[in-house]
């Protein structure tokens, strides 16, 4: 209870009755029982509201809708639209096409009038009691069965339908005294401030009223309805300072509002009755200037004289396991309102002192206010006995967990699964490994016909616990029946053509696979199911790239299309092979990764195998036709690779080292495979194959090449070792020499700097010049060590092979391990920050040596000195922070871009237009080219001509 009210009660009321009230207030707070299961309440609520919404929909049609909500969300800001709607109202909308049952033409937002409240109500609520001794709803109580049914078996007294059929009906209570609607206080304040306290006319001189109206109409013509609202606001603001009524010359007093619902006129309180009478006296013409349409909104309607009671279906009670009933928050709140209202009536009729009546009135105002909004800043929220605040009307609608964002905008779906993902290169690219556990939960509906009866019976026979079984059968009338171990015989007897069996997921079923964030269309692709043991979803590592997935704990979602149409769409539009070529740069976005690249590199570079080894390899990747292998004992790796490529395929390309790669008549005659040919988003090999042989062939070939690479490594062994970074003695000497030379050079420059002999670069100070020169020298030295490493390191070491093939890592990484980590830079400069005039306390102040600026001359293998390690940690932390801060920012940027452009479309005349047909670009991309049909944005005319002739 509000503190101030309590103290007021104490101060004023010495009478016994007042003390009673106070007790009552305390007792009330204790009265409220907390619903045991929050979730259930919320769910029931959601259902009921949906039903109530349905009712609203049903009234739509020939006429505009009058919203039945008492208006938690309504504001006077909508009146402009009501004017338009009014015009539409007279027109009868005739359906243009026969399949359109009802069409919404316009929606009117309005405030309920007392008459409307009474008319739409089917019961008057007079008692706060809910149930009688038999547990039957009391007539005239809050759970009156005229307000709808929430118990199974009962019938609604108003409409006669059963539970779930009856959507509920409103009731009303007659308030003993008017109560202000908390959501309209600002509008009421505006009205009070800008109308006369004597004659209730608007504070604009008679002759100017029509002028103001003209101005408003003009503004609306120019800037639309928003401009009109803006102008109305300005006009109202200008009226607040007028202190003499231009009509009756009465002096105006200053009106203030004591939040949330009390109004004062020169320190004297205005009662809601007074407010109501003032608002009631305002003429229709003046109301128009406030932007309200009188037919829909009268200002006095913003002060309640009757309060609508929402149907029970939107505040269902739940029965606990103990048989006890637990009421909804709204019912509790309404109970308070009804109780206090009754008491107010009694007191007024008994002629109780004004103080008591006023206190009760304030209490009623509090309850009605919290009924609408329990988060009003100035009021203490009404609470359960447990101290948890009640969830009333406004809380149901707004914020993330509210009806709008949670129930209406938040879409949830059935028939889906989510777990951790892991790689399996033995899957095809368009397959997804589904754990058997999931496969037995997810189902595919299959309609029984004469022809598949026997086939489907087998699933029902197995029941839900044995794979492959079935979980449900659906009768032709739509009734669903769960199959259990006990009922499976009965179900087996029952089924006949026309029934539907929901069988377990099986190999070859279609599934839509997705990883968030779903930034482009390749984030959701259709895969074929492979049921596997284990608990993770499995995918071929080659499709990680379009999903941007890795296996450090990523989770992905799986959806099972449930209808023939959905399956057809998924297969034709979304399957992995249809997404091979990126529509962004016109190259394959799916390619070999990691081991597959190293393997093919090794195979095609210089590997010679025995014939039986070669056959073994081919067999392992699923080839059983060996006729393409040359008939000799020793088979070259290139020849083995060539067996995969079709015989009429010709190709020339470049390796990463700019060497020629030539495929002639399906034979790899020159060069070797590496990332620039097999990798994702690079090289034209895959693009050309796709162009010539189509998606099915490409996806198949890619899978084979991938597995070939993996198998090669499997047979030869492939690993990294510290010894990969070993260098011969002379190389180490060379590196030391390079580094010490650089150190000397830097030393020299520092000396020159101190002697002022250093010449400065244009546009830089002397110290800046020195910094730049030091940085340059040190970077040069590091690069030199890198070259030395590249020259002397064992070319056949596996680390080196990975770097050269492009599978993972680069030469710089190797050099950092073997020789020298190099300069640590923050914001493109040497490290400066830390202590006063130095980076760490073991250096001298203003020291300029390489070491003091964060140069790490050791390699990772040799090990870093403590200071070096610290510098490394500094830059490491910095880059970590940077990525952590940048990712959400760029994500939001991308999201806004995508939302802004989502319904732009290329029309048949190659213009880009938005949804209302306005031109955005006269020719798509200014050259009208579809990048996904090109090769890296280029159309190779020469090659096309060559291929034709």
């Amino acid at each position: 209870m509000p503190e101030e009210k309590k103290s007021k009660t104490e101060k004023k009321a010495k009478e016994e009755k007042a003390a009673e009230i106070k007790e009552e207030i305390v007792a009330e707070a204790a009265d409220i029982k907390e619903p045991a299961d929050e979730k259930e309440v919320a769910e029931g609520e959601a259902k009921a509201v949906q039903m109530a919404e349905k009712e609203a929909e049903d009234t739509v049609g020939k006429e505009a809708v009058e919203t039945a909500d008492t208006g938690a969300e309504e504001t006077a800001g909508k009146e402009g639209q009501t004017a338009e709607a009014e015009r539409d109202k007279t027109e009868v909308i005739e359906p243009e096409e026969s399949h359109v049952f009802k069409r919404v033409k316009s929606i009117v937002f309005s405030v309920l009038s007392p008459k409307m409240i009474k008319d739409m109500a089917s019961a008057k609520i007079v008692t706060p009691e809910l149930y009688d001794k038999e547990g039957y709803p009391v007539d005239g109580g809050l759970m009156d069965i005229r307000l709808g049914v929430i118990d199974p078996g009962l019938r609604c007294k108003t409409c006669g339908s059963k539970l779930k059929e009856c959507i509920g009906h409103f009731g009303y209570i007659e308030l003993a005294r008017p109560i202000i609607h908390i959501k309209f206080v600002n509008i009421i304040l505006n009205f009070l401030k800008s109308t006369c306290r004597e004659c209730s006319r608007i504070l604009i001189p008679k002759n100017k009223i029509s002028k103001y109206k003209e101005v408003l109409d003009e503004v609306e013509k120019e800037k639309g309805i928003e401009g009109r609202r803006q102008k109305i606001k300005e006009i109202i603001a200008s009226l607040k300072t007028i202190n003499k009524c231009p009509h009756c010359k009465a002096r105006q007093k200053k009106i203030t509002m004591d939040k949330p619902t009390t109004f004062f006129e020169d320190e004297k309180r205005i009662s809601p009755i007074e407010i109501w009478t003032r608002l009631e006296k305002i003429s229709d013409d003046d109301i128009l200037l406030f932007g309200l349409v009188v037919d829909y909104v009268r200002p006095e309607w913003m002060v309640f004289t009757f309060l609508p009671i929402p149907p029970v279906t939107m505040r269902p009670s739940i029965t606990l396991e103990s048989g006890e009933r637990s009421e909804d928050d709204l019912t509790h709140k309404l109970g308070d309102i009804v109780r206090i209202n009754q008491r107010l009536f009694e007191n007024i009729n008994a002629g109780a002192p004004e103080i008591i009546v006023e206190d009760l009135w304030d209490l009623l105002q509090y309850h009605v206010t919290t009924f609408f909004d329990n988060e009003v800043a100035q009021l203490p929220p009404a609470r359960h006995r447990s101290g948890q605040p009640l969830k009333t009307l406004t809380e149901r609608i707004k914020s993330k967990e509210g009806r709008i964002r949670h129930n209406l905008a938040g879409k949830r779906t059935n028939f889906c699964a989510r777990t951790v993902i892991s790689p399996d290169p033995m899957l095809e690219l368009n397959e997804v490994g589904v754990p058997d556990l999931i496969a037995m939960k997810l189902t595919v509906p299959e309609r029984i016909t004469e022809w598949n009866m026997e086939y489907l019976k087998k699933f029902v026979e197995k029941g839900p616990k044995k794979y492959p079984g079935a979980n449900y059968i659906t009768r032709p009338d739509g009734k669903k029946k769960k199959i259990t171990e006990e009922t499976k015989e009965a179900s087996l007897e029952e089924i006949q053509p026309g029934y539907t069996v929901e069988r377990h997921l099986m190999d070859g079923d279609l599934a839509v696979f997705n990883r968030q964030p779903s930034l482009h269309r390749m984030s959701m692709m259709c895969h074929r199911v492979r049921v596997l043991p284990g608990k993770t979803l499995r995918l071929n590592p080659a499709v990680c790239h379009p999903y941007n997935a890795d296996f450090d704990g990523d989770e992905m979602n799986l959806h099972i299309p449930q209808t023939e149409e959905a399956r057809a769409e998924a297969e034709i539009l979304m399957e992995v092979q249809t997404q091979l070529i990126s529509l962004r740069y016109g190259l394959s976005i799916i390619g070999c990764v990691q081991d597959a690249i190293s393997g093919n590199y090794l195979l095609t570079k210089n590997m010679i195998l025995d014939r039986d080894k070669a056959i073994d390899l081919l067999a392992a990747i699923g080839i059983d036709d060996f006729s393409k292998l040359p008939r000799k004992e020793k088979i070259d790796g290139k020849e083995l690779f060539s067996t995969l490529i079709p015989e009429d395929f010709n190709f020339t390309g470049k390796t990463r080292e700019e060497e020629e790669v030539t495929i002639k008549n399906g034979k790899l005659v020159e060069g070797y495979m590496d990332r620039s040919n097999l990798g994702e988003g690079s090289g034209l090999l895959l693009r050309n194959i796709h162009q010539k042989y189509g998606k099915e062939f490409t996806i198949n070939l890619l899978g084979k090449i991938f597995r070939l690479g993996v198998e090669v490594l499997l047979r030869n062994g492939f690993t990294c070792a510290v010894s990969d970074t070993d260098l011969p003695e002379n190389a180490r000497m060379k590196i030391q020499e390079t580094l010490s030379n650089a150190a000397k050079e830097v030393d020299n420059m520092i000396g020159m700097y101190y002697d002022k002999k250093l010449e400065h670069l244009p546009g830089h100070t002397l110290s800046e010049t020195l910094e730049l020169k030091i940085l340059e020298t040190l970077n040069k030295a590091r690069n030199e060590t890198g070259n030395i490493v590249a020259d002397f390191a064992d070319k056949n070491s596996h680390t080196m092979i990975m770097a050269q093939s492009g599978a993972r890592g680069n030469l710089l990484n190797l050099a950092q391990m073997a020789a020298c980590v190099g300069q640590q830079a923050m914001r493109g400069k040497r490290i400066k920050k830390g202590f006063e005039a130095r980076t760490l306390s073991n250096f001298k102040k203003d020291e300029l040596t390489p070491g003091a600026g964060g140069f790490i001359s050791n390699g990772f293998k040799t090990g870093l000195t403590p200071t070096e390690f610290f510098f490394g940690a500094m830059t490491g932390r910095d880059s970590l922070m940077d990525t952590a801060l940048r990712t959400p920012k760029s994500g939001y940027l991308y999201r806004r871009l995508a939302n802004a452009m989502q319904d732009l479309k290329v029309e048949y005349d190659e213009t880009v237009r938005d949804s209302s047909g306005r031109i955005i670009q006269f020719e798509y991309g200014e050259d009208g080219m579809d990048v996904s049909k090109s090769e890296k944005g280029i159309i190779n005319v020469k090659r096309i001509i060559k291929s034709i002739t």
Partner: protein, 80 residues
Amino acid sequence: MKKKFTVDKHILIPKHTKLGDKHKEKLLEKYNISITGLPRILKTDPGIKSLGAKPGDIIKITRKSQTSSEAVFYRVVVDV
């Protein structure tokens, strides 16, 4: 006095020309669009200052393009 600077002669300003009535009609017919469906340009835009364009005129803009050598764009002059 120094030579006065004119924006539309600047190297970075693409070529703006006013479309004649005949061309205007042809254009609207070609794209099957009313004048409100075109992209807009402000009457006070410095690039068309010297053309003396009135609201409702169509300005042809010829730009250099990264994807094709030249790209044409049309804008309708609007007030405010």
